[in-house]
C-alpha cells in the first residue's frame, strides 16, 4: 500500500471498495473507526451489505462486476464540476488528455444504468471523495478477482491522481494484503517475471547481476504462474515443488485442479499438515509453523518484522529454511547459509530497496521499504513529491463484464470470500478450538425472500450447482445478500466453494474471477 495502516485514522474520507475489512482485517478496521470518530466519512462499495458496509456512512450495493462504470460515473461528475486537482495533474501526471476523452465518453446516467446506483448518489459520493482534504481508497480482492481486475485497480489509481489524493500522509491507496507474507513473497521474487525487489528477469543487466551473485546461468524468459503450471501438469510441467500452499482448495474449479495434481510425474509438498494438496504428493516434507522459526514477514504496509522461534518443530520436522538449504545443496547450489539472517545479508546486497534492512534494526518496530541503506529510516508513505516512475500516468481502464453471468439454467450470482473466524483454506484455523466453536460448518448466505421461495429455513441444507460441480452447504438467511445472490466462504474442505468457481482469468494479472459466477440453488437433502 502507498501509506501506513495507522495513517488511515487521519483520513477525512475513506472510500472502501471490494474489501470487508471488518471481518478480514479487523485491526485495520479499528483505524477506520478512529477516522470516523474524528469526523471522517466512510463510503463502502460492495454488492453485499458486509460488516464493513453496515458500519459505514454510505453503502453503494452495486451490481457485481460494475466497479469501472461506477468509478467512471464518479470521475465524470468530478470533471463536470471542476472538482479535480488541476495543479496536481499539471505538475505530476501525464496522459490527461486521452484520459479526459475516456471520462467524457461516460455519463453519470449511463454509469447508473450499469451499476444500479442512483445518479444522485454517484454524484454525492464523488463530491465527498473529491472535496475532502485527504481521501484514502481501501480495496481488496473484491476489486482484483475479476476478469478486468487490473483495470479496476487502474481506475482507482486514476481516481486518486485525478483528485490529487496520493502522496500525502492520510491519502493514498490501501490494497489490503490477505496473507501474512504475501507482500514479502512478492518482494522476494516468488513471481515468474521478476527477481527480488521486482527486478525484471528479462533485463540483461539485472540478470547478469544475479548470474554473477549466484554463480549460475539464468533464464531471461518469464515463467508460468500458479494457474498456468497446474494447467500444464504432465505436459509442460512434469515436476512440481509446492511449499505450504494448498491449490486443491484455493484455486478456481478445484475438481479440475485435483485431476491435474495427479498428472505430475513427481510432486513434492512441504507443509505442516497433510493438506488436501499434500495427499496427492509423491513426497511429503514436514515443515515448521511460524512459532518454530526465525525470519521476517513483510506486512501490507511494506514493513519487515521479525518472526522469532519459540519452540522446536514436532518429531523430526525441520524448519523450512533448513529444508531448502538441504535441497539446494543436494542440487549442487552451495546453499551454505548459517541462519536466516545470513540470507538477509544476501538480500541486502542484491535488492536495493531492502539494502538497509538488517536484523538488528528490526528489533522493535520493523522497517518499511524502500530502505536503501543502513542510515535510511524507512518509508512511511510513497509518492511524496514525485512518483516512483517520475510522473504519474493516467491509463484508460477497459471495462469487461464478468465472464459468466446468471442465465436460465444457472440464475444466481455466486461470490466467494472470507468470514471473521476462519482463514483461507482453513488448514490452520479449523484446527483451533476457539475458532471452530464460532463456526464449524460450511454455509451459504441467502436472502430471506429467496429462502422462503426455496422453502429452506435457517441451517437447512441447500445444494449449489455451477457448470463445474456441486456442493451442499447450510443456509444462512440474511438480508446482507441481495435477492438472487449467494455468498459462500471458501474455508471448508468438506464443501469446497472452489468446486463451483469459474477459472476465467484476468489476462494481465492471471487472477481468477472468484467474485462472480453463475449457479443454481436448490433445497438440499439434509
Amino acid at each position: 500500500m502507498t501509506n501506513s495502516i495507522t495513517d488511515l485514522a487521519g483520513s477525512k474520507c475513506i472510500f472502501i471498495i471490494g474489501s470487508n475489512a471488518a471481518e478480514s482485517h479487523p485491526i485495520i478496521m479499528g483505524e477506520i473507526y478512529k477516522a470516523m470518530d474524528a469526523g471522517g466519512v466512510v463510503i463502502v462499495v460492495d454488492p453485499r451489505r458486509t460488516a464493513v458496509a453496515e458500519n459505514a456512512h454510505i453503502h453503494l450495493a452495486i451490481e457485481p462486476g460494475t466497479d469501472i462504470p461506477l468509478l467512471a460515473g464518479m470521475m465524470r461528475h468530478i470533471m463536470d464540476e471542476g472538482l479535480y486537482n488541476a495543479e496536481f495533474i499539471e505538475e505530476r501526471v501525464e496522459g490527461f488528455e486521452e484520459f479526459r476523452k475516456f471520462v467524457e465518453g461516460w455519463t453519470v446516467e449511463e454509469a447508473s444504468r450499469q451499476c444500479g446506483i442512483e445518479p444522485s448518489m454517484i454524484r454525492r459520493v464523488a463530491e465527498i471523495y473529491a472535496k475532502a482534504d485527504e481521501s484514502a481508497v481501501v480495496y481488496c480482492m473484491g476489486i482484483t478477482q475479476h476478469v478486468c481486475g487490473s483495470d479496476n485497480v487502474i481506475a482507482l489509481c486514476d481516481l486518486t491522481m485525478l483528485c490529487g489524493h496520493v502522496g500525502t500522509e492520510h491519502s493514498g491507496l490501501y490494497p489490503l494484503r490477505g496473507q501474512n507474507n504475501v507482500q514479502g513473497a512478492c518482494d522476494m521474487g516468488a513471481l515468474p517475471n521478476v527477481y527480488p525487489a521486482y527486478q525484471p528477469v528479462a533485463d540483461p543487466d539485472i540478470r547478469a547481476k544475479f548470474e554473477e551473485a549466484w554463480g549460475r546461468p539464468l533464464s531471461d524468459k518469464p515463467g508460468l504462474t500458479v494457474v498456468e503450471m497446474v494447467r500444464s501438469a504432465g505436459s509442460k510441467i512434469r515436476g512440481l515443488f509446492i511449499m505450504a500452499e494448498n491449490p486443491a482448495l484455493s484455486e478456481p474449479d478445484v475438481n479440475h485442479v485435483v485431476e491435474s495434481l495427479r498428472k505430475f510425474d513427481f510432486l513434492v509438498v512441504q507443509d505442516i499438515f497433510m493438506s488436501e494438496t499434500a495427499r496427492f504428493a509423491d513426497l511429503v516434507l514436514p515443515g515448521s509453523s511460524f512459532a518454530e522459526k526465525d525470519g521476517t514477514f513483510t506486512n501490507t504496509e511494506r514493513r519487515f518484522q521479525l518472526v522469532r522461534k519459540a519452540v522446536d518443530p514436532p518429531g523430526s520436522a525441520k524448519d523450512d529454511f533448513s529444508i531448502l538449504c538441504l535441497l539446494g545443496n543436494a542440487l549442487g547450489l552451495n546453499f551454505n547459509y548459517e541462519s536466516p539472517a545470513d540470507v538477509m545479508s544476501e538480500i541486502n546486497r542484491l535488492a536495493p530497496p531492502y539494502g538497509g534492512i538488517t536484523y538488528d534494526r528490526l528489533e522493535r518496530q520493523g522497517l518499511q521499504w524502500p530502505c536503501p541503506n543502513e542510515e535510511h529510516p524507512g518509508t512511511r508513505f510513497l509518492h511524496q513529491g514525485r512518483f516512483t516512475r517520475g510522473k504519474g500516468l493516467f491509463v484508460v481502464p477497459n471495462h469487461v463484464a464478468p465472464k459468466e453471468l446468471p442465465d436460465e439454467d444457472y440464475p444466481w450470482y455466486l461470490s466467494t470470500g472470507r468470514m471473521f473466524a476462519h482463514y483461507h483454506t482453513g488448514t490452520l484455523t479449523r484446527r483451533a478450538k476457539q475458532l471452530d466453536r464460532e463456526v464449524s460448518r460450511p454455509y451459504g448466505e441467502i436472502n430471506s425472500e429467496d429462502a422462503a421461495k426455496l422453502g429452506v429455513g435457517e441451517g437447512g441444507a441447500i445444494r449449489v450447482t455451477s457448470r463445474r460441480g456441486s456442493i451442499v452447504v447450510d443456509a444462512k438467511i440474511t438480508d446482507r445478500v441481495r435477492k438472487g445472490s449467494i455468498f459462500i466462504p471458501f474455508h471448508f474442505a468438506e464443501a469446497r466453494a472452489n468446486i463451483l468457481t469459474n477459472p476465467a482469468l484476468d489476462p494481465r494479472s492471471k487472477t481468477p474471477e472468484y467474485k462472480v459466477c453463475a449457479v443454481r440453488v436448490e433445497k438440499g437433502e439434509s
Binding site: S24, L283, T511
Partner: protein
Amino acid sequence: MDCRFVRTTCPFCGTGCGMLLKVVDGRVVDTLPDRESVVGRGHLCIKGWSAHEFVHHPDRLTHPLVKKGDSFERISWEEAISLAAEKFRGIAEQYGNDAIGGFSSAKCTNEENYLFQKLIRAGFQNNNVDHCARL
C-alpha cells in the same frame, strides 16, 4: 516450570500485528497482544488470539513421507532429500529444465521465499516460480 514470552508477528492476515507467544516447558500455550507493536498496538482479532492453537495439534506432520501405492510410508530425511533431488534432476534431463516448477508460499518468511525462488531459478534455469498472491 520454565515460562517465557517470545515476541513475534501474527501468522494470519497481512496486517502483521505484533504478538507474544507464551511458552511453558517447550510448548506454546497462549497468545497475547504486544502493546509495543506499532501494528496492532496491543490489539489482536479473534484469529490472532488463537494463533497458538494449531501449533501442537496432533495432526502435525512429523516425518518425511513417501507415497507407496495409495498410502504413505515414513522415510529418513537423507532418503527424502536425495529422492527429491534425483527425481527433479531426472525430469530436467529427460524433458528439459522448463519441466520443473515451484509454488512458493505467502505463509513462509522472506528468507524462505528468497531461497525458494533461488532454488528454482539457479537450480533449473527457468522462472517457473509463483505463489498464491492472486488467489
